[in-house]
Amino acid sequence: MRRQEILKWNGWGYNDSKFIFNKKGQAEFTGKRYRLGGMVLPTFKEWIEKTFGASLEHKTTSRASLNVNDVPPPIVNEEFLQDLRATKISYSQDAEDRVFRAHGHCLHEIFVLREGMFKRIPDIVVWPVSHEDVVKIVELACKHNLCIIPFGGGTSVSSALECPEEEKRTIVSLDTSQMNRILWIDEKNLTACVEAGIIGQDLEKQLSESGFCTGHEPDSMEFSSLGGWVATRASGMKKNIYGNIEDLVIHIKMVTPRGIVEKNCQVPRMSTGPDIHHFIMGSEGTLGVVTEVTIKIRPLPEYQKYGSVVFPNFERGVACLREVAKQRCAPASIRLVDNAQFQFGHALKPQVASIFTSFLDGLKKFYITKFKGFDPNILCVATLLFEGDREKVLQHEKQVYDIATKFGGLAAGEDNGQRGYMLTFVIAYLRDLGLDYYVIGESFETSVPWDRVLDLCRNVKERIVRECKEKGVQFAPFSTCRVTQTYDAGACVYFYFAFNYRGISDPIHVYEEIERAAREEILANGGSLSHHHGVGKLRKRWMKESISDVGLGMLRSVKEYVDPNNIFGNKNLL
């Protein structure tokens, strides 16, 4: 409940952190939570105006606060309330509490918060504090035939948290945030048993007190929860060292309408038929509530080092990443941004402190563009993060830079690398600024075999540009991508897409049509429906195509057995 007070009700992240234009008309990032906090970004305004054709004079503003009168009244049956009170589990029917848990962070959801109201929101929010509480709530829900929608960090970008409009039963939002304890740490086996409601950054902070970490760092880790990671098959930035969620999880306890599902041991691997964890991971809240997870932990790394490499063009950059993956020497993280994103990152450079740094920057720029002949409108940048023993890191670093050199790459410094990763967290705040100036945007992702990475990136970006033109978008859109993960057999590609919607009467609809076209394009290029965002309700229409009729039937039959009355009725996935 505390969290809700420090977070924005109608946008991303902390209340005190946001992009603004100061009195001088310069962009600035507020707050002290991020490295960028309090800094002035002198070239950012120009970039926005140039990229989006946006102007600071044309502003739209969100409602200042939630209008409680707009909120649909709760449908709660009195008998259930009596039973609930008897359990002593805290709950609320307050409008703000309910609206806060009625959405994730899709563009259309934020848009509704700023200018409209959801048709259907949870009727009641409950805060279990333990596995036993969850068992009680699920029992009550079965008894009274209610609908439960589990809520973790609320960072979904797949419409997974939206309440089905046609749901007539009472919708219970089961907020796991009070189940946030580390139950035990097993240093011999390097595992920790953690309640599923814990938020990513809290988990890492608490583990670090004992000298450990999980190393799982999705971009949303400041706000997303362990249970949410399990339910969506999350992926972390440093998966090259630590693995994705499916590699990290040792044991899961989940409460379903049928009862509790878990394994009888905590072992690294077992051959007992299809792994039941894989029914749970990615189930997106359709089967039950994950309450406790045993997760692998590692000693905190001795040394961390950032890095960056400039490539003459995107093709060479991708070829380099492919080679790194082939040699299986990827650092904890390696990401390649295209030219548009490089320029965007450039625009977010804060004012330099001294003439000396500015002189150095100029010198670097001269070296790369004039001396080495890189075209600033074509070049692209890879950012790197190394972790481990100091000596091994340095060795590793040399190996990677040697490969990069073979592909025409030039080392571009630690600072650029670190800034790149910092921007990952800050970039999410930008959408709220854009929304104030008629710019809407979103990100989406996919995974794709290596040989199709370039074609997919080019075609999807081109498709977005064409669809915008066809749909009457007046200014060319910002359509950019980065390769964020490398695997043996392919890569994860992340797209950002935003446009200025002035002159369009129904921007959200237009936006969704374009995103849909982009997804069609991804699938036609041999990309997946999702690498880590999940399906939710946003991408359901492609499930059959993605996993075949029979595959869908397999998932359905699990759902039918585990939850025959559709208590977990968020309608995701299937």
Binding site: D451, D455, N459, E462, L523, A524, N525, G526
Partner: protein
């Protein structure tokens, strides 16, 4: 045979939106739905006869518009008829004579001009030889080399060597110097041969934009060797990237000329290489590499060879499916297909073609032959019209139609047999592009004269000819034909100038126009027949240019005559029968028999030739002129096919080859002509004979078997007799299909 056409019409009905029985729908109602605007339009306004020579503003969005229109046709098949209607309503571009400037300024300076063509935005610049090595090193070719090496137990190096040889034989080596040489000599030659070379400039502008945007495939019609020379010449003139052209390997037999063509951008393909996997792999990869890199526009002829009859040949699919593959595999974002219609007032090879059709073999391409042919330089071949059509986006055509999943599950460099879906799509696109070629083909007044003349042999009153020609001009325009007849040109002048240009075919004698078959009077009967056949075939070459514009209403007219009933369903049965029989003779979009019928009926209604009620179709009093003219226009085909079928019905041999069939049927027809029992000279045409045989194979009346060297055929006598009976109206076509109407 009838059954197969039934199932054909069945499919057409399946595609029909809402499946409203035809009898309840006025044909024109189907045209009401304007696909790309989503609003209703009055059919009249959609069908205003086109005005040639009107300038239109071209916007970038036009290509997309037309693309979506074509798409709707291909993706749902059912709207193709309305599509064609709509396109006839479009204003056509204005023509520019490119020779005009050539006659005013120096050819040498023109050949040496600064040539900096616009190029594809994604072009990775590359020399012709570099392309070859890219192809040789490509995963695609290397894969096949390794496979073959394993299978044959040979070293891959030997096979690689073979691949290099293939590439050297195939590859072009475009050089600016040679291009300039051609620019100079062709200027001289074209000015000698032709009065004017007219091109729609807006088409060139559209092409220019298309070339920058996506890889471009040029799909010209093929009537003459002049086609590709002229097209390259044109692109050079307009400062556009010169195309690489798929040419037959026969040209390499010509000393010097073959190499010259190679340096001007021709690449050479063997006539048949279906069985040779290495050749296929190298060739396909060569073409695709040039396409993917955006190296140059790729040009080839859908028809596969020069049409000897000036009638569009049914398309070949091999090269088309190769150039479409990079898009299917998403190696390129899109590919533009550009239909180009080139029409000749007088075809350079007209008499060669006629000889060839009559069985006098085509002279082998040779340099000395070419030099001998130089005497034609003193002759006049009139005007050429080149209409560069709207670039059609392959992406738009494929949208919603192609399931790409199979391409996602196999590495892209492995040779993969296209799925049935894809094959059907390729075929639909091929027909679509040919229909677009036909639609934009400029028709000269002489074409009308030839059509009238052929119905009035051996002689016709000059004044009557003029009168009928003018009448036919109106009819052609009603049917959407694109006639180049300037407003200020009086009919008499038009006919006279046609006659003077084609004095080898017809001439004016004492106020009558007669065929120019000099020497016919004195000679053996056989010689007379041969000479007459030559002239008639030459003349029909010009009439043929009208046929694809007229074919739908004419088959309705023929069906009306065959049926001897006015019941719509029976007329449709006959129509369908004829459409199946002539499926290789004329160009029909696959599987939309009902739409074609409706279009035919609609056009006949439009010129008041027939009246249609819900159940019946009958000619109006006024309309009998039109109906009988139309059926007479196609009479040679009906009679010719009957003769050919009759010949086959007497065929006793168990199996025969095409080489046996053609002379056999030719002799058979020849004898009948000598005896005077038939006047159908066109049945001597080997083109018609082959088409008829192909149609029978499709209808299952002839079995085609692959043999070691070519194909062998065997006749199903019962089926042939059944078809002949339908022609003679002895047996009605079976009903079931009609019940579906």
């Amino acid at each position: 045979m009838v059954r197969s056409s039934i199932s054909g019409s069945g499919t057409a009905l399946l595609y029909f939106p809402g499946a409203v029985p035809l009898s309840q729908v006025h044909p024109s109602a189907l045209l009401l739905c304007s696909e790309d605007r989503g609003e209703l339009r009055h059919p009249r306004s959609a069908l205003q006869p086109c005005k040639p020579r009107t300038t239109t503003a071209v916007t970038t969005y036009r290509s997309e518009l037309s693309g979506s229109r074509v798409l709707s046709c291909i993706s749902s098949k059912c709207v193709s008829a309305s599509l064609q209607k709509e396109l006839t309503s479009k204003k056509r571009d204005e023509f520019e004579d490119i020779l005009e400037e050539r006659r005013l300024s120096s050819d040498l300076r023109y050949a040496m001009k600064c040539y900096t063509p616009v190029i594809y935005k994604g072009l990775s610049p590359c020399k012709p030889n570099a392309i070859k090595s890219v192809v040789l090193q490509s995963e695609q070719v290397q894969y096949v080399i390794k496979q073959l090496a394993k299978e044959m137990g040979e070293s891959p190096d030997i096979i690689q060597e073979e691949a290099t040889e293939i590439l050297d034989e195939m590859g072009h080596s475009m050089q600016l110097g040679t291009v300039r040489f051609f620019a100079f000599t062709l200027s001289k030659i074209f000015k000698q041969l032709f009065q004017r070379v007219c091109v729609n400039e807006e088409g060139m502008q559209r092409l220019q934009r298309a070339i920058q945007e996506h890889p471009v495939v040029l799909l010209p019609s093929h009537r003459s060797y002049v086609d590709f020379l002229m097209l390259s010449y044109l692109l050079y003139t307009y400062d556009l990237a010169l195309p690489v052209i798929a040419a037959g390997i026969d040209f390499l037999g010509m000393k010097i000329v073959g190499e010259l063509l190679r340096r001007a951008g021709a690449f050479f393909m063997r006539r048949s290489f279906g069985g040779n996997r290495l050749y296929w792999a190298v060739f396909a990869e060569y073409v695709k590499t040039m396409l993917r890199n955006g190296y140059a526009p790729i040009e080839f002829f859908l028809e596969g060879t020069r049409s000897r009859t000036a009638k569009t040949l049914t398309p070949k699919f091999g090269l088309l499916s190769i150039v479409m593959e990079p898009f299917f595999k998403r190696e390129v974002f899109d590919t533009y297909l550009v239909p180009i219609s080139i029409s000749y007032e007088r075809i350079l090879e007209e008499s060669l073609y006629a000889y060839e059709l009559l069985g006098v073999p085509k002279p082998k391409e040779s340099t000395s032959g070419l030099l001998k042919a130089r005497r034609i330089l003193s002759d006049n071949f009139g005007t050429i019209h080149i209409y560069v059509g709207q670039p059609v986006s392959l992406r738009t055509l494929a949208s919603g139609r192609i399931n790409l999943c199979p391409y996602n599950l196999v590495p892209r460099h492995l040779p993969q047999k296209p799925t049935e879906d894809i094959q059907e799509f390729v075929s639909d696109v091929a027909y679509k592009m040919e229909l677009l070629q036909i639609e934009n083909m400029v028709l000269s007044p002489w074409v009308l004269v030839a059509a009238v003349l052929l119905q009035n042999l051996p002689a016709m009153d000059f004044e009557l000819l003029i009168e009928k020609t003018v009448w036919l001009k109106g009819l052609t325009q009603t049917f959407g034909g694109f006639i180049e007849w300037p407003d200020n040109l009086c009919a008499k002048k038009a006919v006279t100038s046609g006659l003077s240009l084609h004095s080898n075919i017809a001439r004016l004698v004492d106020g009558h126009v007669v065929l120019n078959d000099k020497g016919v009077e004195d000679g053996a009967v056989g010689e007379i027949v041969f000479k007459r056949a030559l002239v008639i075939l030459m003349c029909s070459t010009y009439r043929n240019q009208l046929l694809n514009v007229f074919v739908r209403p004419s088959l309705v007219a023929l069906a009306l005559q065959m049926t001897r009933s006015f019941r719509k369903e029976e007329v449709y049965s006959s129509f369908s029968f004829l459409r199946d029989i002539f499926s290789d003779e004329f160009i029909f979009f696959p599987g939309i028999s009902l739409k074609d019928f409706e279009e035919g009926c609609f056009l006949l209604t439009k010129c008041d030739a027939i009246q249609a009620t819900q159940q019946e179709i009958y000619p109006t009093d006024k309309g009998s002129v039109v109906v009988s003219f139309l059926s007479a226009m196609f009479r040679p085909f009906v009679e010719g096919y009957q003769l050919i079928f009759r010949y086959l019905s007497k065929e006793t041999k168990e199996a025969f080859t095409e080489k046996q069939f053609i002379p056999g049927v030719r002799n058979f027809v020849f004898q009948l002509l000598e005896k005077g029992t038939t006047q159908c000279y066109e049945a001597l045409s080997s083109d018609m004979q082959k088409n008829a045989l192909a149609a029978l194979v499709q209808l299952g009346a002839v079995k085609k078997k692959k043999m070691a060297n070519g194909f062998s055929y065997s006749v199903n006598q019962e089926a042939i007799h059944k078809i002949l009976d339908v022609f003679d109206a002895r047996t009605p076509i079976q009903k079931p299909m009609a019940a579906r109407l």
